[in-house]
Amino acid sequence: MMVVLTAAESAAAAGAHGDGAATAMRIVIEAARLMGAPRLIPIKSAHIDGALYHGDSGVLFAEKLVAGGAAVSVPASLNVGSLDLTGCARVRLEGATRDMARRLMRAYEAMGCAPTWTCAPYQAGRRPAFGTDVAWGESNAVAFCNSVLGARTNRYGDFLDIACAIAGRAPDYGLHRPENRRATFVADVSGLSAALRDSDIAFPVLGALFGRLAGSAVGVIDGLQGCCSEDRLKAFGAAAASSGGVGLFHVAGETPEAPTLAAALGGAPPAHVVPVTPAMLAEALASLSTATGDAVDAVAIGSPHLSLGEIDALDRLLGERKAVRPIYACAGRHVLGAIEADGRRAALERRGVTLVIDTCVVVTPILPAAGGALMTNSGKFAHYAPGNTGYAVHYGSLADCVESAVAGRLVRIDPLWR
């Protein structure tokens, strides 16, 4: 299929605004052609996941764009990089690799991207309006943007996110089109106890289960009315986008495109309804843990990056006690600024918390190289830590994580375990 271009798009591709802008527009047009998109559409913002170092070719590409005068034409935030540029946490990348990782981050900043360096841009003031088209990368941010904010984005991968941000355009296909945003199946969780449905620990587990049920289909969860906070939906989406290809989910009565179950389904009958049983949830819960025994060598929280509310919860649960196992708390600069201003950064660090800013512990080497058992309350950390860090994982609630870090061994106090 031919992609029909406007005169302005053709001119940009031919170099009217410089070599960098031309490269970006040609990449967007080629992606549109491959995916069968009939045209390009304007976008309001971008969230860019391309500044994580995978090899030198990505650095050369970003620097070629910079050399060609490329700059983003819409507000663009940056996802995590491979280094903590604030110096809160020490990243064990050395020599040429460290230099290249830094060059990559600097190149994206040079194109006008905001140095947000967070996977939770939606809690750092970047909240596109309902119904607007944007080009966001990073699977949890995509899920939140589509599902909780009701803005429209596909799952943008490396290179295409920055190309869209420079061109100000995206291929018109997939989740940009309203007809593809309708739920085609229902996950009915009303058979779970009310206490469970209203607990923080259930949301990553439900997300991991939902991701496996959904694959890349759009589904709606029924039975969580009145149980959802923004941080719970964030945790759900991150887990669902790790275990499956979930770019959009609906929660009946909670998310903006699902005022009712029928509305989420677009008035059509669902292809299937999955009654979620306590046994299914227990199986999903068990799948998040890979460690055996009661050793805990480190705790990691903050995937997606912690909100200020989640830092408050950590602070409250830890109280005046000191953790004997390191607690790696991953967050963005938007949270660091707030806790430096009120003096809590130093207090948390004295009590055994290592803040990890601009990056996180599963994308770059921060955890002690010795390995061992990692405890987390994040469905996404639980999914990726074994493969990316070599650590085995205990999954638990935030309270379980804090008690385990204080005790130096696995402690479970959350009622879900009883």
Binding site: R26, A31, M35, G55, L60, G137, L160, G245
Partner: protein, 138 residues
């Protein structure tokens, strides 16, 4: 007899076809420096994909698959051509970017699943228009 397929990324190539036995995620599944299949659960683990005409029965989406393919192209360890059943925008974006970088890039051809299976182990030539021509054994 020649087979007409769709040239997603046009180009010419000659070589022997190797069709993977299972879908693969390039990120975490292929070593970007060597082209070795490194996914511990993949049936073709240990295969080196550099220089072969690689048939992909499916890809598992990772948003960084394009980075791995670009890295393979840059390192001279990319397949000679890709034969895919469905276009994967993320993976093939690595080839789109390779062209923008001025690096020689392999073609990508779409063919149906049955045709792809029949090509395993055969020597073929790929033409710029997507024509696949079987070659005699040397």
């Amino acid at each position: 007899m020649a087979l007409k397929a769709e040239a997603l990324i046009p180009g010419e190539a000659r070589g022997r076809v190797c069709v993977l036995r299972a879908p693969i995620s390039f990120w975490g599944g292929v070593d970007p420096r060597t082209g070795d299949v490194i996914d511990a659960r993949h049936p073709d683990r240990g295969l080196n994909i550099a220089g072969v005409i690689l048939g992909l029965p499916g890809t598992i989406g990772s948003s960084s698959a394009s980075s791995v393919l670009l890295e393979l192209v840059h390192a001279g360890r990319a397949p000679a051509a890709l034969l895919v059943v469905e276009p994967d925008a993320v993976l093939l974006l690595g080839l789109i970017v390779a062209r923008e970088m001025g690096w020689p890039r392999p073609p990508a051809i779409r063919c149906d699943a049955a045709a792809l299976a029949g090509l395993h182990g055969r020597r073929i030539a790929i033409g710029r228009d997507g024509t696949i021509t079987p070659l005699a054994e040397p």
